[in-house]
Amino acid sequence: MGNKQTIFTAQQLDSYQDCTYFTRKEILRLFDRYRDLAPQLVPLDYTCQPDVKLPYELIGSMPELKDNPFRQRIAEVFSDDGEGNMTLDDFLDMFSVMSEMAPRDLKAYYAFKIYDFNNDDFLCKSDLEKTLNKLTRNELTEDEVRMVCEKVIDESDLDNDGRLSLEDFQTMIVRAPDFLSTFHIRI
């Protein structure tokens, strides 16, 4: 199955294959996509594990993410430094979780982190408002946004503290069968 590639060692490829939902061929294809973003920054030889990080501007310019209103949050969640600058590992991790083979609980965990704008492990009202505004491109009035947020918290807040924890979010996702098909990026 083509042992001619010199980008990764066999152990590295095995390790990537075991820890993501991609096959060898897909991992190499993703590496090509990563390198195409900045050919002068990314070396062709990853056997020595170089420490290369692509800035968020390049990641956010990918055609799959360019027009997505949540692209900044996605990059921040999956990047190590929390600013959106991604190494190859972060890049592979991101597309592995967003692929169609990732299980629902894993996707729910990362979706929770993406929608948690202030990184406080809870979806509070301001997080919901920001999510809504991004979903509708600020087309709803403030009253409508407030009403929707209150209804959302009413419906899914199981422990009644005024905000959604990860457990509330996961319970809600179980009841929504469309989540797996919409939280999916094809690469």
């Binding site: 897909e26 894993l106 199981l158 457990e167 939280f183």
Partner: protein, 786 residues
């Protein structure tokens, strides 16, 4: 303590308490706050929050300020403080108690590694106390990872990999855990491991098997057909339209499988040994491709080509049949080919192919999911978080999606604010009349079209020569299939259903009724009229005739689909643009197109018995259809404004593929094989009472020719022909099914009970917390110092 929480502020917003944490980022501050409060409640039991409530341990119910229904008992608190008892105004102390609840701390412990590393790597700007607290976090991180590593070591390799992949750690952490957990597995050899020798072979076999499986899987996934066109389509139109094309690809794979099996076991052996050629049907005009007669009827395509011979490489010593006269005599001491009986091969290939398709359909994940108990998706929260389709990447489609979401939300909000529409009686009666009228119209049109097809087919039959009006019946059937769904769509538009999903289901149901009735009438025509009295209609080979009719139906369907795509979508768009000067493009009707695909597949399954190469025709048709529909959708259509529940629709379509389509075809094929007399002059089953007889004859032949297979046939006789055995096997399966259904029932009941329990727990919690808060308020009012 390093954080600065102002406990005296009881009437401020609860969120501001969290935002006033120290100098570090809110995330880390909150995290440390939560960790420390958990630690503090463990370390100092007589902390602030516990002191206040010590006096209330002996209180009975009347002392509690709030009743179970939430009404205030005590009037000592004024409105300002009453407001603070509402959920969003709980005091910091109450929130501290809440955050140290076991459910909260357990949940965060599971995600410690990533967060702890972030917090410990941040520069520590606060006092030395915080650095003192960060060290235990780091130690617990490696303890957590050690726990994970030891868990993984206890499982088998594949299980451990699956669990590791599903753990929410970053990729670098996962690779480190993997290295730690499987270091021993990789380095040790078989000899140094303590495997007993009798298990070594089993371990070796299982490792090679999983290796092979992995390679096969990667080969299959690399064969991804149409990957980039699908990506373009999903980027522009989203998951709904994509599901149509995915369904098309699934059907293509089914047909490829059928074609391969038929080709290998049926077409190839017979094509290598063709029957004597009939000379007078050699002229080839282009029309034959469309009608399937003439040159094609003598080809490997149709039933008539196949003979009832047995292919052998040698003949038995005592046989004096003329067709094997030139073959050498069989030498029992030398290996020779098992005689390949074409009739038996025909019967068993078709039967086994149908059986395997049944298994694939039933075992497919989408099919199983359609029977799961799911609550209807009417809650808003699930809608908000699942509504954004991350696959959509084109700018205009993204904007369209946002508009769609805001429209949907506005409608939902208006529904909520206005409440139930107090419709007057006349309005409701009007709507009922409209519904009844629409349904009556649709049903009458279905019955009329079925009768039209029936009378047309009778007229075709009574006119003995079948040559002239061959294409009329398929054309009429395809025209009905094309025009009537448009009428149904018009009816649903007039009816103006409230919910778009009900609208979709109603139009699918009507379309399905139409197609089922038409196929039913046609089956009656073939199996009830043509097959039963073939001589009366001047037919020497009725199976050929039926096969040709199905071939014509399939092709006409394709021709009419091309016409519809061209007229319906392309010209419609031109009409709107040039004449009406509006920029509205038609919407791709997913349900209607999927039902067309299912209809075509039903025809293929019905016809595979009479025309073994029909799957090849269907494959070519699906290929052409994919590219045609793709270009049409990209040029002429726009994304729909209605939400499309992709996963529910996909399970519905797979279910429809199984239940009316596959089962109907399987039932008619079984009926044909079991009861109908095959024609006497053509085909592999001539001179037999039923097609099924050939199986029995083959078994008898086996007994006489080869003693090795004698025992196999004896076992077949004993087991399969024995009604007692069949009864026992059926009884066993029925018992298993009954037990499983009881288990599922019980689980469903437990699930609903647990849901009720969760709701009650939530209410209990709210009750307790409100009362705690009220007591705290009361005691803080009473005590002079806070």
């Amino acid at each position: 303590m390093a954080y600065s929480v102002n406990i005296s502020q009881t009437d401020s917003d609860s969120e501001s308490d969290f935002e006033d944490m120290g100098g570090s980022k809110p995330g880390q501050g909150t995290f440390r706050f939560i960790r420390e409060s958990a630690a503090s409640t463990q370390r100092c039991p007589e902390s602030l929050q516990m002191d206040d409530f010590r006096g209330c341990t002996g209180a009975n119910r009347e002392d509690l300020p709030f009743t179970a229904s939430g009404h205030m008992r005590d009037e000592t608190l004024d409105t300002g403080q009453r407001k603070s008892l509402q959920r969003h105004h709980w005091s910091a102390a109450t929130l501290k108690v809440l955050s140290s609840m076991p459910s909260r701390t357990a949940g965060i412990n599971a995600v410690i590694p990533k967060y702890a590393r972030d917090s410990s790597q941040q520069p520590q700007t606060s006092s030395h106390d915080s650095s003192h607290h960060s060290k235990p976090i780091q130690e617990e991180t490696s303890a957590e990872e050690k726990q994970l590593v030891s868990n993984l070591r206890g499982l088998s390799v594949s299980e451990a990999m699956r669990k590791l992949r599903a753990t929410p750690l970053s990729l670098a952490d996962k690779m480190r855990v993997r290295r730690l957990a499987f270091r021993d597995v990789d380095e040790s050899s078989f000899i140094s491991r303590n495997i007993p020798c009798y298990r070594r072979l089993g371990v070796y076999i299982s490792r090679t098997w999983s290796h092979c499986l992995f390679i096969c899987l990667s080969v299959l996934t690399s064969l991804q057909l149409w990957h980039s066109p699908m990506k373009i389509l999903s980027g522009r139109f989203g998951t709904g339209v994509l599901s149509y094309f995915l369904f098309l690809r699934t059907l293509l794979l089914f047909n490829l499988f059928l074609f391969t099996i038929n080709g290998l076991f049926l077409v190839f052996p017979q094509a290598v040994n063709p029957p004597p050629h009939d000379p007078h049907s050699n002229n080839f005009t282009g029309l034959e491709l469309l009608t399937g007669t003439g040159y094609l009827s003598q080809s490997v395509m149709f039933y008539g080509f196949y003979t009832n011979t047995t292919l052998t490489t040698c003949r038995a010593a005592n046989s004096n049949a003329t067709n094997t006269a030139d073959l050498p005599i069989c030498d029992p001491h030398q290996p020779h080919m098992v005689p390949y009986s074409i009739p038996a091969a025909y019967l068993f290939t078709i039967a086994i192919a149908f059986f395997i398709i049944c298994i694939i359909l039933v075992m497919s994940k989408s099919f199983g999911r359609s029977f799961q108990v799911l609550k209807s998706n009417r809650d808003l929260a699930g809608n908000i978080f699942c509504i954004w389709d991350f696959k959509v990447s084109k700018n205009t489609s993204v904007r369209l999606q946002s508009e769609k979401i805001s429209t949907q939300l506005k409608e939902l909000m208006s529904e909520l604010t206005s409440g139930e529409d107090a419709k007057s009686y006349t309005l409701r009666l009007c709507r009922l009349m409209v519904h009844v009228l629409a349904w009556v119209t649709c049903l009458i049109s279905i019955v009329l079209s079925a009768m039209a097809v029936h009378y047309l087919s009778e007229a075709c039959i009574t006119q003995s020569p079948f040559k002239d009006t061959e294409l009329v019946l398929p054309a009429v059937v395809s025209a009905i299939n094309l025009l009537l769904p448009g009428l149904f769509n018009l009816c649903t538009w007039v009816e103006n259903y409230d919910s778009p999903s009900v609208c979709v289901y109603v139009s699918i149901f009507r379309n399905l009724m139409l197609k089922v009735s038409i196929i039913g009438v046609l089956c009656f025509r073939w199996l009830g009229r043509i097959a039963v009295e073939p001589v009366n209609h001047g037919l020497q080979c009725w199976e050929n005739c039926v096969g040709q009719e199905l071939y014509r139906l399939l092709l006409m369907d394709f021709v009419f689909t091309v016409l519809y795509t061209f007229l319906g979508e392309f010209l419609w768009r031109l009409f709107f643009k040039q004449v009406l000067k509006r920029n509205r493009k038609p919407v791709f009707d997913i349900a209607r197109n999927v039902l067309e695909l299912i209809y075509g597949q039903t025809l293929t399954w019905l016809g595979v018995l009479f025309a073994p190469l029909l799957p090849a025709v269907q494959i070519l048709k699906l290929f052409a259809l994919f590219y045609m529909k793709k270009s049409s959708v990209l040029l002429n259509c726009q994304a729909s404004r209605q939400p499309w529940r992709a996963s529910q629709m996909t399970t519905l379509f797979v279910f429809l593929l199984f239940f009316p389509s596959y089962l109907g075809a399987a039932v008619s094929v079984i009926y044909t094989i079991w009861t109908i007399k095959p024609s006497t002059e053509c085909g592999p089953f001539r001179n037999l009472t039923t097609m099924f007889h050939s199986g029995k004859l083959w078994v008898q032949q086996l007994e006489s020719s080869n003693t090795l297979l004698f025992w196999l046939s004896k076992a077949y006789d004993f087991l399969v022909e024995n009604p007692l055995f069949l009864f026992l096997v059926n009884g066993f399966f029925l018992i298993v099914i009954y037990v499983h259904s009881q288990v599922v029932d019980g689980q469903r009941r437990i699930v609903s009970q647990l849901q009720k329990q969760i709701e009650n727990e939530g209410k209990d919690k709210k009750f307790l917390i409100t009362n705690l808060q009220a007591l705290y308020e009361r005691s803080s009012l009473v005590s002079p110092n806070r």
